[in-house]
């Protein structure tokens, strides 16, 4: 038990050195570390937002609206393809989008099979299983039902989320904040964490908007009537829709057809015109061409610039706009114009995202927490060390050195893994220190007990370590089991706790048992060589 081969001693020292290697960057400031050569360890332990300040925002995709818009797109395609059928237009009617399904009736019963073929061609394969995104079936002989499959829905969300993460990354990069974390969580959520942000509101404003920009023509006849009579119709006439102005909520009727959309923008910038903030934009060449065509055809009419179903402005086309660029003027402040420009530059979100959780910790509070937490932790560790030393003397000192190694290893492992230390993580840290101390208390008490029973020193130390080790392993394996379950099931804070606990338990068993045993063995060996008859007569424990 007390014999350590050179090989084993070398192994222990190597582990400690590796831990030290990875822990070192934490002793320096971020800017100092940045200048280090490439071969040096640079990763520092991440501090959670609760300890350093910043914003945490959890977004959830509105899947229903995504499915709805997919179904609407499918409806348009079905109409188009039925018109373009080889044997002449297949007449369809009674179209409904209820219950997430698309249903329509084929008027000519003889052409149902043909219509089914066309409908099938509009579906696309999903994954490698051969499943398609819609099931096409026939009901009552002439009614075709297109029902989205589960695979199709999963794929749709998946694709939308991948794109959404990219859009969000572009938007946040525009804010110029450093090291944002943008992670997809589960099927339909995105976590955004931005440390040390002064104005979290700006971030939220940017994330919560879909930024779907559309240009539509105003339905002049209906609109003039509204303006003349002051009475808003309950429903817009077929082919038109009723929207509201962003500023005052007053109604405006526009034609449903999108004449040009924000997808074709290549540039958007906040500028000033006549002292007020505006957004300058430029279309790509295809967009510029259609913009020119539309403006030429609709001179003296109004078109509406619509962002997320709200009308920003509805200018009159005075002359054809041929250059493909223009400005959006509305009731903007410099900030809101800049925000709109950022949104337009980074593109629209493929799916509406809702903020379902938001946490902001002011930088002051974060700094206070770190200061108080560090001070208290150091004090706690020092008190524990004093306590151990007064109680177990030399062996207590060994435990203290092991405890210091333990903390170094935890910091090293966490830095190397890129793990994040949060407040609950700190709790895990304290529990780990407790477990490490307890392991040494168990060993030392057992040695005292064995000495009381009259065993000789070497035998007492050996039995002490042997007997206590089974107990320590049992106690720690149970904690590891608990930690793994918590890691697998728990959310944010509980995960943070479980990570530190798992790492800490492994390192503390290593330091508290193996490392202290090495110290004890080396000490007893030296004493033994010195003492009379090469035997250690007594130890102070």
């Amino acid at each position: 038990m007390l014999d350590f081969s050179r090989f084993k001693i070398g192994g222990i020292i190597a582990v400690l050195l590796v831990g030290l290697w990875f822990a070192i960057p934490n002793a320096f400031s971020e800017t100092e570390v940045a200048d280090w050569p490439d071969w040096a360890p640079k990763a520092q332990m991440n501090l959670g937002l609760d300890l350093r300040g910043g914003s945490h925002i959890l977004l959830e995709a509105n899947s229903e609206s995504l499915f709805e818009s997919r179904l609407e797109a499918l409806e348009n395609n079905v109409r188009l393809e039925m018109r373009r059928a080889d044997g002449g237009t297949i007449s369809i009617g009674d179209i409904s989008l209820r219950d997430g399904q698309l249903r329509f009736q084929v008027r000519d019963a003889a052409r149902v099979d043909e219509a089914v073929d066309i409908a099938r061609q509009l579906t696309s394969p999903v994954g490698i299983t051969g499943a398609r995104d819609y099931d096409v079936t026939v009901e009552d002989g002439n009614r075709i039902v297109m029902d989205p499959t589960n695979e199709g829905r999963v794929e749709a969300i998946d694709a939308a989320m991948l794109q959404a993460v990219e859009v969000i990354r572009r938007r946040i990069d525009e804010l110029g904040t450093r090291e944002p974390t943008i992670i997809r969580e589960g099927a339909d959520r995105i976590v955004v964490q931005v440390p040390g942000l002064d104005d979290p509101q700006a971030l939220k404003d940017l994330l919560g908007k879909t930024a779907r920009l559309e240009f539509k023509m105003v339905n002049e006849e209906v609109q003039r009537e509204i303006e003349a009579t002051g009475v808003t119709p309950r429903r817009a006439p077929a082919g038109s829709e009723l929207l509201a102005y962003t500023d005052d909520g007053s109604p405006i009727v526009v034609r449903r057809q999108v004449i040009i959309s924000g997808d074709q923008l290549v540039e958007a910038q906040q500028q000033f015109q006549d002292g007020s903030a505006v957004v300058f934009f430029r279309f790509d060449s295809a967009g510029a061409r259609s913009f020119a065509r539309v403006t030429r055809q609709n001179a003296r009419k109004r078109f509406a610039i619509i962002l997320d179903d709200a009308v920003i402005s509805a200018p009159v086309i005075n002359e054809p706009i041929l250059g493909g660029s223009g400005i959006i003027s509305g009731n903007f402040t410099t900030e809101s114009a800049n925000e709109l420009a950022i949104l337009l530059r980074s593109g629209k979100l493929p799916v509406e995202l809702n903020v379902i959780e938001e946490r902001t910790v002011g930088a002051d509070l974060g700094a206070d927490s770190i200061r108080a937490g560090t001070l208290a932790s150091i004090l706690a560790v020092v008190l524990v060390m004093v306590f151990m030393f007064v109680t177990y003397g030399r062996f207590g000192f060994y435990s203290n050195v092991a405890l210091a190694f333990n903390m170094m290893l935890i910091v090293g492992v966490m830095s190397a893994l890129g793990a994040t230390l949060t407040l609950p993580g700190l709790a895990g840290f304290v529990l780990t220190v407790g477990a490490a101390v307890d392991a040494n208390v168990l060993i030392n008490e057992r040695i005292r007990e064995e000495l009381r029973k009259g065993r000789r020193v070497i035998a007492a130390v050996e039995t002490g370590y042997a007997q206590a080790t089974t107990t320590i392993i049992d106690a720690n394996v149970t904690n590891i089991i608990a930690a793994i379950i918590m890691f697998a099931l728990g959310s944010g804070p509980i995960k943070g706790f479980a990570v530190v606990l798992t790492i800490g338990i492994v390192t503390s068993v290593f330091t508290a048992v193996t490392v202290t045993r090495l110290f004890a063995a080396l000490y007893l060996k030296r004493q033994g060589q010195r003492g009379p008859g090469r035997r250690v007569e007594a130890i102070n424990i």
Partner: protein, 318 residues
């Protein structure tokens, strides 16, 4: 150097002989906890209740009553306003309508800050949390599930390593500790949030450690002293471990005490939970986990099937 010995050698305290006192005390504590949870309930933070929580700081000690009046006058629903760690810091919790609209929280927040800034220009927003009802429901479910499964998993391991009675004993002791900690939170009205769940998990971890250490010695003694009556054997085991128990608990209490006093407002709640846990956990290892073994019929025979080889293996381990 003269070393410190907190517990004299060879104590012989009749812990288990007095177990009925222990059981009485345990039952009283559990009853109090249940009454507290039933009548007062837990003061759920936004993590679990959903809503908006703001932490505001002032340059001087805050006048809580005045702040409560001013926020009450806004008519935003029942606000929970309390001092948070220091007299200059106030935590304000407000319910939010179930709407998914993120701007709702923004509007409420602006209203509160404006109302406070009108009377106290030095007010500053230190932190702010908004949790929707959907997320809070998931957080409750995940947290509870993680804690329960962790307890069951651990009990299963103990069952494998020891005997089923030990697994049951550990599980009951854990449930006891968690229940009493919850009771303290109910009676004190301290805010119960996700961090407290982490603290409860720490309590589970600590209490477990303590229980297993005692169980290990009980198992060892069961193999060693075949003829000893169970009560005496439990007392012997606990007394043998007493020095360790006292030493470890005291170290933890000292460490947590430092965190409690100097750790600042954020650490306060969960340090307190852990402190309670250490005390209750130590107690339950002796008075709950131990006596249960008697009632479940653990005796010298429990380890008989492997006792011959087992006893030798334990003592003959190099």
């Amino acid at each position: 150097m003269k070393l410190l010995k907190l517990v004299p050698d060879n104590t012989n305290i009749g812990f288990v002989r007095w177990r009925y006192w222990g059981v009485g005390l345990t039952l009283v504590l559990i009853a109090l906890s249940i009454i507290g949870l039933a009548t007062k309930g837990l003061n759920y933070g936004v993590d679990f209740a959903g809503g908006l929580k703001m932490e505001v700081g002032f340059d001087e000690p805050a006048n809580i009553d005045d702040i409560r009046d001013r926020i009450g006058a806004l008519g935003l629903g029942s606000a929970n306003i309390q001092e948070f760690g220091a007299p200059e810091i106030v935590s304000i919790r407000l319910p939010l309508a179930a709407s998914e609209d993120p701007d709702a929280a923004k509007a409420v927040e602006a209203q509160v800050i404006d109302a406070l800034a009108a009377a106290y220009p030095d007010v500053s927003l230190r932190s702010q949390d908004v949790v929707s009802g959907k997320v809070s429901g998931e957080l409750i479910r995940d947290g509870t599930l993680a804690a329960l499964l962790a307890m069951v998993g651990v009990a299963a391991y103990i069952w494998l390593r020891f005997e089923w009675q030990f697994g049951v004993g550990a599980l009951v002791a854990l449930a006891h500790d968690v229940l009493i900690a919850l009771g303290v939170f109910a009676w004190s009205g301290l805010e119960f949030d996700l961090n407290i769940i982490a603290a409860l998990l720490t309590i589970i971890g600590y209490s477990l450690n303590d229980t297993i250490v005692n169980y290990d010695r009980i198992r060892e003694n069961l193999r060693k002293y075949r003829k000893m009556p169970m009560i005496e054997l439990l007392d012997l085991s606990i007394n043998e471990m007493l020095a360790r128990t006292v030493m470890t608990s005291l170290t933890m209490i000292v460490a947590l005490g430092a965190l409690l006093v100097f750790g600042g407002e954020v650490l306060f709640g969960f340090t307190l939970a852990m402190l309670i846990g250490v005390i209750v956990g130590t107690y339950s290892s002796i008075y709950v986990a131990g006596p249960i073994l008697i009632w479940l019929g653990v005796g010298p025979d429990s380890f008989l099937p492997e006792s011959e080889s087992g006893a030798e293996r334990v003592s003959a381990r190099p």
